[in-house]
């Protein structure tokens, strides 16, 4: 299944690893911030009622 990357295996794999890591980190961070902000807002709105 794994394609033969030859002598460039490290190059290609590290590129994919770094990029995917960065994207996942960005998504995770955004989702966490979104959740936090939403909870804080719901908290304040609940108090208003």
């Amino acid at each position: 299944m794994m394609p033969d990357l030859g002598k460039y295996a490290e190059t290609v794999l590290s590129s994919y690893a770094v990029s995917i890591l960065l994207i996942v980190a960005l998504v995770w961070w955004s989702v966490r911030a979104a959740r936090k902000a939403k909870l804080a807002l719901e908290d304040v709105e609940a108090r208003r009622k």
């Binding site: 299944m1 394609p3 033969d4 990357l5 030859g6 002598k7 460039y8 295996a9 190059t11 290609v12 590290s14 590129s15 994919y16 770094v18 990029s19 960065l22 994207i23 960005l26 998504v27 961070w29 955004s30 989702v31 911030a33 979104a34 902000a37 939403k38 804080a40 807002l41 304040v44 709105e45 108090r47 208003r48």
Partner: protein
């Protein structure tokens, strides 16, 4: 009715986002998985660059989005300055961290790719250098947002910085192109076809082009999804702030 400016209302925008976010995020995931798997497992090696050509599926979409994110920030900054729609300013703020991540991905994959191709991690190739400068612009823009307490002042100042910065970014692009001529040439020749992705002189390139296209669509959708999500986060924060301010007064 039906005007696009309706969505400039933060509450309306939040509701709309909640409806569209899931499908866009799904689309982004599907495209990215298909594109990357296709590119990584089912494309041949390039006759010159060998397996390293697979980096193209990350490098080119990230580089495109790094520029497009800045362009989007420029447009939303102008909308904020002219029409004072809060969503616009917050969307610009939300896009910056995504843009900087894309710039970093483009830079790192470029450096990793450059190592076997040019025999060095870093060459002051005009294109790489331009991205480094773009990275600095993003850093300054984000730092300015963080440094100012008052949200409207921050929106105004960062918008002006974004517009002025855009002019200087274009100037820098020309300056860098001119500056590198004297040092060494041809560093980007190898990648000329790769960057445009539509290089039809070589028939092989279609093999690379279709998965690349899917990846680009995936990155665009990912960007849209993240901007929507992050803008909504900023709106929630501002609403919380406004409600707390009102609470204190009561």
């Amino acid at each position: 009715m039906g005007s696009i400016w309706e969505y400039a209302n933060p509450v309306k925008f939040s509701q709309t986002v909640s409806r569209f976010l899931a499908p866009v995020a799904m689309g982004a995931t599907v495209c990215l998985v298909i594109g990357l798997v296709w590119g990584f497992f089912f494309t041949p090696d390039d006759f010159r660059q060998g397996a390293t050509v697979k980096i193209i599926y990350l490098h080119v979409p990230a580089a495109l989005m790094a520029i497009n994110a800045w362009f989007m920030m420029l447009v939303t900054s102008l909308i904020w300055l002219v029409r004072r729609h809060h969503v616009s300013a917050l969307a610009a703020k939300a896009a910056a961290p995504i843009g900087v991540t894309m710039t970093v991905i483009a830079l790192i994959t470029g450096a990793i790719w450059g190592q076997p191709m040019w025999g060095t991690w870093w060459a002051w190739d005009p294109r790489l250098t331009s991205f480094l400068i773009l990275f600095l612009f993003y850093l300054g823009y984000i730092a300015l947002w963080e440094a100012i307490d008052d949200p409207d002042t921050a929106a105004d100042l960062t918008s002006v910085l974004c517009i002025v910065g855009s002019v200087f970014a274009v100037l820098s692009r020309y300056a860098v192109n001119f500056w590198n001529q004297g040092l060494h040439q041809g560093a980007s020749v190898m990648r000329a076809g790769a960057i445009t992705g539509t290089d039809t002189e070589e028939k092989v390139s279609n093999v690379f082009f279709y998965p690349l296209l899917v990846c680009i669509i995936g990155f665009v959708l990912l960007f849209v999804a993240l901007v929507l999500l992050r803008t909504r986060t900023e709106i929630h924060k501002r609403r919380t702030r406004a409600l707390l301010a009102r609470e204190r007064m009561a």
